[in-house]
């Protein structure tokens, strides 16, 4: 039954986040700061991970279909499908739940335990809006990060399969272009936007409502990761059922 309490309080938090706005000149600065911390600060790890994952996906596919009767462009096609539909949006989001999510929970949690949030409230500032709104806005740029992951994932697949001799450059590129459905891209970006919202808000919730001291900030980050990644997986399942099945 506790779960309903948390869900209710989570949605109340979202409601407060979009009420009683902080001065725009102040919010603007906060948003730029969050873009720097959450988006630009994640480019490195996202690029690195997606490139290697793309490579692994291509090699795995090649090894699984070592049958001369199957067309040569299958590796490129399979790599594109797995990277765009699943690895770039979902796997990267779970990695981000660890990176960005624990950063958000621990920074808000620290502000909670050191009474910085109370200090905001005493001054009459809506701390939900002040702290969470800029995070949500900056994560509107999250689809760019995922687009980058798609490109680099496919590039990684290309390099791995061509240089390891599993596929020719021509076959791979033909595979990438094969049977391209715009709807798949729409599906991916719908997921991505939902994941971005989850990445901004669930870790904020765990930071905001934590109790205790420095030790509990660490625990809250752990719990926050478990919840954020689980919710991402659940949303992934539901959206896939609704849109693709």
């Amino acid at each position: 039954m506790r779960i309903f309490f948390h869900i209710g309080r989570y949605f109340l938090m979202i409601k407060y986040t979009f009420s009683k706005f902080t001065k725009w000149s102040v919010l603007k600065k906060l948003i730029f700061q969050e873009i720097e911390d959450l988006i630009l600060g994640s480019i490195g790890i996202v690029a690195f991970m997606s490139f290697l994952i793309g490579g692994v996906v291509a090699i795995q596919t090649a090894l699984a279909i070592e049958n001369p009767l199957l067309p040569g462009n299958l590796i490129g096609f399979a790599t594109r499908q797995s990277v765009i539909l699943e690895f770039a949006p979902t796997l990267i989001s779970i990695i981000m739940a660890g990176k960005v999510g624990s950063f958000i929970t621990s920074s808000i949690g620290t502000m909670r335990v050191t009474e910085q949030i109370d200090a905001l409230e005493v001054m009459g500032i809506n701390s939900f809006n002040y702290l969470i709104f800029p995070k949500i806005i900056s994560l509107l740029l999250y689809p760019f990060l995922i687009t980058l992951a798609m490109f680099l994932g496919i590039l990684g697949g290309y390099i791995a399969s061509v240089y390891a001799g599993f596929s020719t450059s021509f076959d791979f590129i033909q595979g990438i272009q094969l049977d391209f459905k715009v709807f798949h891209i729409i599906y991916t970006y719908i997921k991505t936007i939902l994941f971005a919202f989850v990445l901004a808000t669930i870790p904020s919730y765990h930071g905001f409502f934590m109790k205790g001291g420095a030790l509990e900030v660490g625990k809250a980050s752990n719990i926050s990761f478990v919840w954020t990644s689980s919710v991402i997986i659940i949303i992934n399942f539901i959206v896939t059922q609704l849109l693709l099945a």
């Binding site: 009683k20 902080t22 001065k23 000149s25 102040v26 620290t110 502000m111 050191t114 009474e115 910085q116 109370d118 200090a119 409230e121 005493v122 001054m123 009459g124 500032i125």
Partner: protein, 252 residues
Amino acid sequence: MIEINKISKSFDNHKIIEDISATFDKGKTNLIIGQSGSGKTVLMKCLLGLHEVDKGDILYDGKEFNKDEISEVSDLRKQMGMVFQGSALFDSMSVLDNIIFPLRMFSNMSQSKMIERAREVIHRVDLKDVDNKFPSEISGGMKKRVAIARAIVLNPKYLFCDEPNSGLDPKTAIIIDKLIQEITVEYDITTIINTHDMNSVMEIGDKIIFLVEGKKIWEGNNEEILNTDDKLINDFVYSSELFKKVKLSQKK
């Protein structure tokens, strides 16, 4: 002047504050004293509206502090300053930005005017060469001063300090206490201070409220507190060897 009328607060059916009534005077340092865990912080947070009271009234200069009327509460909030137990400075901002923060939020001053005003209060709390330092780079005593500077930068009518001198050496503690008292008199502020430090009580106890387990059991000033017969107060006051000795020497 702040009046509270029979306020109570519980957490999870556990009564923390029970039926407390009191008046806190303008231009005076009003102390709330009591052992650790007696409910001082909770009482102060109720006064500030950070905790909603279960029942009772809180009046700021006769006006009811009612959580429902948001615009009025925000107006009132601009007249309140608070120094938290752990200073609660924003660690992501420099000292100067911490002090400017309330101005940036609530005034229409230009950047140079804001800096000018911040410098004024920095000077008032005797800070030097800290403008561009971050909270993690300054000492505990300096943090308290920055917190006081931030709390008074908007010229508040009401100042709240939660154990402003805890964690400081006795000398610095008294300097901070005196600073708060001077500011209180100078700007005619209604100041409320939580403390369990007997030195503070003696130095700046214009008016004292004594809490035991969430109940007010005594009120008076720093002269009366030495001469009362109340057993609980005597236990508190004379828990320190120093004060016991002072008491004995007075009797002789």
